[in-house]
């Protein structure tokens, strides 16, 4: 597959090469190669069970991949090989931060505390084995004030500020999704991986999500990688899409290319489709995407 052209000529932040993840006899990811261009929004889509979440888990060190490599072009540290890093180092060193398909907040802690925990490493360092913290030294107090400012700043920008002192578990689902994104942002990511951020959101909320994602890339110069089933999000915001089916990459390209790709249509609408029906199916996917866009 010609990856360079698929990435649109932009220098890749992340290069996945021949990644394979096997669970016993099942290849959840099968020889996947894929580049994530820096400063863009890339999406991974595919039917249920295609291996998208497994891909994220391999990327972020939660699973040890069976074979293949994942490399990150870190602006300061050079090329990092992620497949050998434990999950917390992926977040800390490589600054790849992810969210989860089934939201994973700290439910009993308040929203603000959730965002402060995301800055654990910075604060822990400032607290010098907790000693500076125990004695309330000014250096620690300043670090904590900065952390709170940063958290409050993100809460404001994501319109969560009036929820700051509410336990995260008590919030409605859509708000929890936003809190999880805010928390990930507090961890200072280079690459933000979102696993189905629009799942469970109503149309208004997913419209707001679109705006947020575009703004993050434009204003924060973040690189985004999302898994999403909601075509109104995927087709409207992504620059670059990779389609998985049964762990294999079946297509890659811009939203327009993907919309018209016969393999993709087949994967989504079922294998037993006849050739002549494909035209109709393509039309249907297109119509759905366009309908969602308005």
């Amino acid at each position: 597959m010609p990856e360079a052209s698929a990435a649109g000529g932009v220098m890749p932040l992340l290069s996945v090469e021949n990644l394979t993840m096997r669970f016993g006899g099942l290849a959840a990811i099968d020889d996947l190669s894929f580049d994530v261009p820096a400063g863009r929004i890339s999406a991974v889509i595919g039917p249920n069970g295609a291996g998208k979440t497994t891909f994220f888990n391999c990327l972020t060190g939660f699973y040890k991949s069976t074979a293949g490599s994942v490399r990150l072009n870190h602006p300061e540290l050079g090329v990092l090989r992620l497949e050998s890093l434990p999950s917390h180092q992926v977040a800390r060193l490589a600054r790849i931060v992810r969210t989860f398909q089934n939201i994973r907040l700290f439910p009993k802690m308040t929203v603000l505390e959730n965002l402060i925990v995301a800055q654990h490493n910075v604060l822990q360092q400032a607290s010098r084995f907790s000693l500076a913290g125990l004695f309330g030294l000014p250096s620690y107090r300043r670090a904590e004030a900065r952390a709170v400012d940063k958290a409050v700043d993100w809460l404001r920008r994501l319109d969560l500020i009036d929820k700051a002192d509410v336990p995260a578990g008590a919030l409605p689902y859509g708000t929890q999704r936003r809190v999880e994104i805010a928390r990930a942002l507090c961890a200072d990511p280079l690459l933000l991986c979102l696993d189905e951020p629009a799942a469970g959101l109503n149309p208004r909320e997913s419209g707001e999500l679109n705006e947020l994602l575009l703004r993050l890339v434009k204003e924060e110069r973040l690189t985004l990688l999302l898994i999403e089933h909601d075509m109104s999000v995927v087709m409207n915001v992504s620059d670059h899409i990779c389609v998985l089916n049964y762990g294999r990459k079946i297509a890659e390209g811009t939203p327009d290319e993907i919309r018209n790709d016969p393999h993709v249509i087949k994967a989504y609408l079922g294998e037993e489709e006849e050739e002549e029906e494909e035209e109709d199916a393509a039309g249907a996917v297109q119509a759905k995407a366009i309908g969602a866009r308005t």
Partner: protein, 431 residues
């Protein structure tokens, strides 16, 4: 026919009956050998006696008890569901009330030995309560904050006690010198336990910690040269008042002679009470402060979701080990105090029973709540004491009280969690 569809999850009478009948059946099966049949020693030979009426009562109690318990739990569930939302707003007020209660408890603790200066029994009980408070606060770090179920906390209590006993009897260390060292030794044992447990969670962790507690006890029983085996270690030196011993006036200056007081054995007891009070206040201050620091937040975050912690770049290994080490150290310090107070220790003081009571204090108090631990310690120490009049029904009373508390407040006596920082308090709330 009973209605086939039950509305929501309120079970029908028949469902309740069937559920209770199931329990009664189990009670019957268990009861036949345990209650229905009993053996008596009749002139050297064993004879089997049957006690069917008693068994009948037992089964009936199980049936009715199950009905009531189910009913209470269902009521509770529906009440919890209807509640919930408005909790956040009330939380700040709630926190202030608890702070006030805490200060009140502190003031009471401070004047208690002065009021009961000649009542040895009260001062002794109060000291015991404080030992459990201290043990509870130590375990609260591990179980309540970090969410690591530890069934072997008595092991660290034992390590602290034996460390002091050996340092004092073999090397002549004073109480105050041995206190931090024994605490550190216990912390090392905490790390030694934490290390193999890093990958374990929930039930598995509980089993390993349970085993660890037993290992320590069995080693103490069998390593006679070190620990004195089942005979324990006796004549452990008591703490002195900064060098002045509590003794009848002799040639050397004593506490009583230096302060121009009549010698009384109560002096030492009251002094010990204030020592453990000071130690536990120090513990409380330390834990309360740590909870507001990155480590403390990391403990709680790990309890809430370990995977999310890792995804945010937190090294959960360090977080877990720090919780184990601190909890163990506090347990060890309590052990030092215990050894100094008793003057005699043996492995019998550090059985699984002890671990279970400490855990019960944490759970009953409300996981993570410092004041809850105090209340639960009071309850768990006082109930058996008050229950002395009920002689053999004492433990029954104890168990019943625990069950009732858990039904009444499933999250513990004080389930309230005070946030470690508030946006509103920082002045941003009403801006």
């Amino acid at each position: 026919m009973p209605p086939l569809v039950s509305v929501g999850d309120a079970p029908t009478l028949v469902e309740r009956g069937r559920d209770a009948a199931g329990i009664a059946l189990i009670a019957l099966l268990l009861g036949i050998p345990m209650i229905g049949l009993s053996t008596v020693d009749q002139s050297g030979a064993l004879r089997v006696l049957t006690r069917w009426p008693l068994l009948g009562v037992f089964v009936a109690v199980a049936f009715c008890g199950r009905l009531l318990l189910r009913y209470a739990l269902d009521r509770l569930k529906s009440r919890l569901r209807t509640r919930g939302r408005q909790a956040a707003a009330a939380s700040a007020r709630h926190g202030r009330v608890l702070t006030a209660v805490g200060w009140l408890a502190f003031a009471l603790a401070l004047v208690l030995p002065l009021v009961f200066a000649d009542n040895r029994y009260v001062v002794d009980i109060a000291t015991t309560v404080l030992i459990y408070v201290m043990l509870g606060w130590g375990l609260n770090v591990v179980v309540g904050l970090a969410g690591l179920l530890d069934l072997g906390h008595a092991a660290f209590y034992a390590v602290g006690a034996y460390a002091y006993a050996l340092l004092a009897t073999q090397f002549g260390w004073s109480f105050w010198a041995a206190l931090p060292v024994a605490g550190l030794i216990a912390a090392v044992f905490g790390l030694a336990l934490g290390w193999p447990c890093l990958r374990l969670r929930g039930d598995y962790l509980a089993i390993v910690t349970l085993g660890f507690g037993e290992i320590i006890r069995v080693v103490l029983v069998n390593w006679t040269e070190l620990s004195g085996g089942p005979n324990g270690i006796s004549s452990i030196p008591r703490p002195s008042f900064f060098g002045l011993p509590f003794a009848p006036s002799g040639n050397a200056p004593t506490f009583a002679s230096s302060f121009g007081l009549e010698f009384s054995p109560m002096h030492r007891l009251i002094f010990l009470y204030y020592v453990i009070l000071a130690l536990s206040l120090l513990t409380n201050a330390l834990v309360a402060r740590l909870r507001r620091l990155p480590v403390g937040r990391a403990w709680e975050a790990m309890r809430e979701d370990e995977i999310a912690c890792r995804a945010l770049g937190m090294n959960v290994t360090n977080v877990k080990l720090s919780a184990f080490a601190l909890g163990a150290m506090l347990g060890g310090v309590a052990g030092v105090f215990f050894a100094a107070r008793q003057g005699f220790i043996s492995p019998e003081s550090f059985t699984f029973n002890e671990s279970a009571i400490i855990l019960a204090i944490v759970v009953l108090g409300g996981m993570g709540s410092q004041l809850g631990v105090v209340l639960a310690s009071l309850v768990l120490v006082l109930i058996p004491e008050l229950g002395r009049d009920f002689s053999e029904y004492r433990m029954l009373l104890f168990g019943a009280a625990m069950i009732l508390i858990m039904i009444w407040r499933p999250g513990g006596i004080l389930a309230h969690r005070e946030p470690t920082l508030r946006h509103a308090a920082a002045g941003g709330g009403h801006a």
